[in-house]
């Protein structure tokens, strides 16, 4: 009831909650889009921004690392065949691993020599997972291949049949650039199976410190939009949205013409965390709610990040494979700040030497790096933060802040009780599987309880019971 009231008041006060990019003065405007309104979501929190150090730092290539550890799979399956031997010299872009299907092939990010077979830790939603990896040393460039060397890839995607376009995308063995890395063609097949009519590019990026998506849009915005349009054509989605932070509109002005050209609706949204989480973004933009424990594709919305759009552009238009990505290096303890083009397989500790504690991903949903954590397509940032002050957790005093701020409207306090008492059935009735793992409850808890991790663990146990009898192909790593 209160939420409804707040929603009405917010709508009355702020007028159109989502400000269109077109409303920037001097950019021309489209009345139709200007007056489109978007919803909001209950809960959420206003986080400190803390992006000042890297927000305006343009993208550079990182120097040649001393070694790479290229995992032999994206993390979903390890039935792969390694094509190189120890001691062999490889060149940049050479096929290192033949996957179970052609979409899961792995390519060498740099030229060099295979020095050993080692292990690398790749992030998944469940924590880091150890995978066999190929260690490359004696690396050599040229590495700075960001700039398209003319449009020589030469695939005419506008005239191509969507099926042919999908075929071409599959040949690139592109990975999805999200936390759980999978082959892009699997993702496309799933989107088509669910009949997604809406494709949303999620550039909200509202975790503190992370700025790579922003720089990507500011510097390679047109390429990102083109990649988004290619993906929309591949999954045959008629409606394409680009959601961006309304505070950054000034840097995105040059995107307007391109977005009109590719029929992409740019949408500026307020930055209340976790609006950048996929289910919340879908709720805000389309007013559809993801079923608990499901994906946004089940409600007809496919959500991608700008990084994969850029990779698609580079493969389809320029003809270069995805061998690295743009990530943010930062944090108070970091000696290097900025946004860098980093090859996959770089060890996180090589990126920020000297920092003891590294965070892989944003500070709200990221993971603590172990010694062998590597940069994968799902890496947004590697951060060296000031260590969180260790406070002893005290009993829940039922202040209700977790419940107030939970974007999934879970009664987190009751879930915490269920966790402490081991009542998984009760947790299921409370809807624990609807948790979107944004971390707001742990952030806000004045009793310093690890609420987010407890709910995550409950969720995992419940899913285990839900999928009883089904063998999971995904290895469960050492969770946080």
């Amino acid at each position: 009831m209160c939420n409804l009231l707040c929603l009405c008041v917010a709508l009355l006060l702020t007028g159109p909650l989502g400000v269109q990019l077109d409303s920037i003065p001097g950019c021309g405007y489209d009345l139709d889009m200007f007056f489109r309104r978007y919803g909001t979501f209950s809960g959420g929190i206003s986080l400190p921004d803390d992006k000042h150090a890297t927000l305006n730092a343009s993208i550079h290539s990182i120097g040649l690392p001393a070694r790479l550890r290229v995992p032999i799979s994206f993390g979903s399956s390890i039935s792969a065949q390694v094509l190189v031997n120890v001691g062999e010299a490889v060149s940049a872009g050479q096929r290192l691993v033949q996957g179970a299907s052609p979409e899961a092939d792995i390519f060498s990010p740099l030229g060099g020599r295979v020095s050993a077979m080692a292990t690398a830790q790749v992030p998944t939603r469940e924590g880091f997972v150890s995978l066999p990896a190929i260690e490359l040393t004696a690396l050599e460039g040229p590495w700075d291949d960001r700039e398209p060397a003319g449009e020589k890839g030469g695939f005419n995607w506008r005239q191509a049949d969507p099926a042919a376009l999908r075929e071409r995308l599959a040949q690139g063995s592109l990975p999805t650039h999200r936390m759980n890395v999978r082959p892009l063609s699997q993702w496309i097949a799933k989107a088509i199976r669910h009949g997604c009519r809406t494709l949303i590019a999620n550039a909200m990026e509202n975790q503190p410190y992370v700025s790579c998506d922003h720089r990507m849009l500011a510097e390679h915005g047109k390429q990102v939009l083109q990649g988004l349009a290619i993906l929309a054509r591949a999954i045959e989605a008629p409606e394409v949205l680009l959601a961006a932070d309304q505070r950054r509109l000034g840097d995105y002005k040059q995107l307007l013409a391109a977005s009109r050209h590719y029929r992409i609706s740019p949408v500026a949204l307020p930055h209340k965390y976790p609006i950048g989480a996929d289910p919340i973004l879908v709720k805000v933009l389309k007013n559809r709610e993801m079923p608990p424990g499901g994906t946004t594709m089940q409600v007809g919305c496919a959500v991608v990040g700008p990084a994969i759009c850029l990779a698609i552009y580079r493969w389809i238009v320029v003809g270069r494979r995805a061998l690295g990505r743009i990530i943010t290096l930062g944090g108070e303890r970091a000696q290097v700040h900025g946004n860098f083009w980093v090859p996959f397989g770089t060890l996180c500790h090589d990126l920020l030497p000297g920092a003891a504690d590294l965070i892989h991903g944003g500070p709200m949903v990221g993971l603590r790096c172990s010694l062998h954590s590597v940069v994968t397509p799902g890496t947004e940032a590697v951060l060296a933060l000031d260590p969180t002050p260790v406070r002893l957790a005290t009993p829940c005093m039922r202040c209700g802040w977790c419940t107030d701020h939970c974007p999934a409207r879970l009664n987190v306090a009751a879930l915490n009780d269920a966790f402490e008492l081991g009542q998984t059935d009760h947790a299921r009735r409370l809807g624990a599987v609807a948790c979107i793992e944004c971390g707001v409850c742990s952030y806000i808890c004045p009793s310093c309880l690890p609420l987010s991790q407890r709910v995550k663990r409950l969720k995992r146990v419940l899913r285990g019971t839900f999928r009883r009898g089904i063998q999971l192909s995904k290895p469960e790593g050492s969770g946080p």
Partner: protein
Amino acid sequence: MSPPASTLPALADLSDRLNPLGSPFLRAPETARTIFLLVMAAAMGPLAAGLVFFGWRAVQVAALSVGACVAIEWLYYRLTRLPALMGRSHAYLTGVLLALTLPAHVPWYVPVVGAVFAILVGKAIFGGVGHFLWQPALVGRLAVAVLFAQQIANPLPQLPGAWPILAQNKIVVGDELNASYEASYRQWRRTPPAPGRDAFWLTSVQDKLAPLTRSSQGVEYSALATVPETPGAKPVMILQVPPIGDLLLGARPGGIGETCAAVIVVAGLYLVYRHYVKWQLPAAFVFSACVVAALAPIQLQGPGDTIVGAWGPPGGWLAMNWFSSAEPWTQPPLLREGLEVGFIYVCYQLLSGEFLLAAFFLATETTSRPVTTGGQILFGLGAGGAAMLMRLYVDTPIPAYIAVLLMNTFTPMIDTIWRPRVLGMRRYAWLRKTVERRA
């Protein structure tokens, strides 16, 4: 591999509590301790008002109460070897809240005994902060209200029900037990005390109207309304109740922190502004109390045992004549008198007791109120209504506190039945599923 299906989550252990591994890696600055201390700082406002109107004895009671609470909590945890779970910030807060509910003229042992009950019975036997069922300060207050009824209600044996308050020119510094009874007292402002005295003995305002509701004989006219034969005369009750200015300012007998409505509301709104209190709970509390006061049938007693007016028929609620004006005295107060007089009456009922302190400071205790917003609204509605009903029909000195304790008892139930709709689920999905399974 997926965990075995029957695995329960590992129970909270120390490593889980220290939280060294997982995200998020940022923390909001507020901790339980800062919350308790800030609520205590807000409670200093009513305490300061108590210092103004009741003098140094108010501070004495507060110091005794806080000191006893902290000492007993320290002793308890020392003896039982349990870790002091919350530091002692919550004991400080409990002590201040207990002092706010006590009048300043009580002997020294009353706040001490109250603190013993608050900490031991209210808090410790449940396991400390986060586990208790009833608001501890109110447990202590209820205990002393039962144990020391005479010392609290009748500090002057020859003048039952009279409580002292400092005169206008003796605030803060005066001794409130150095008081005299002024039969002609009407208004605190501009009333000087007797020579050599610091304070007045005043009959507690709530005693003027509240006990008058227990007669069953019908009355032909209302006490609030103008007497029909003399148009233009002031309503009888308006002449009896204290001026509204005194009620807002707090110049009336009562507990140390109960009287000054203006300061309580300001301090409470500060807590709302800091998000330590949701506005819905006090609002529901006050709203529900107002509605009950405006609609409940009562009878008013004049000097002696005479009945000077009534709203509502002798039959009570069921025989009430809600809308027809055929027998006007059988209508509820607000309908009978209209907004003008009815508003004064409702304000009087609301401001002359301990309602505002209960609504903003005691009902909002984090552990003993429901968690969700809807649950808090239910809680506030129930507590406010019960408090006003108890004030009108039950002879108790602390109706609002008892009502809060009553609703505290139902808090776990409210938390169970009121659940917000989870993202992606239907409202009451758990209930539907259970019903379908049964059917």
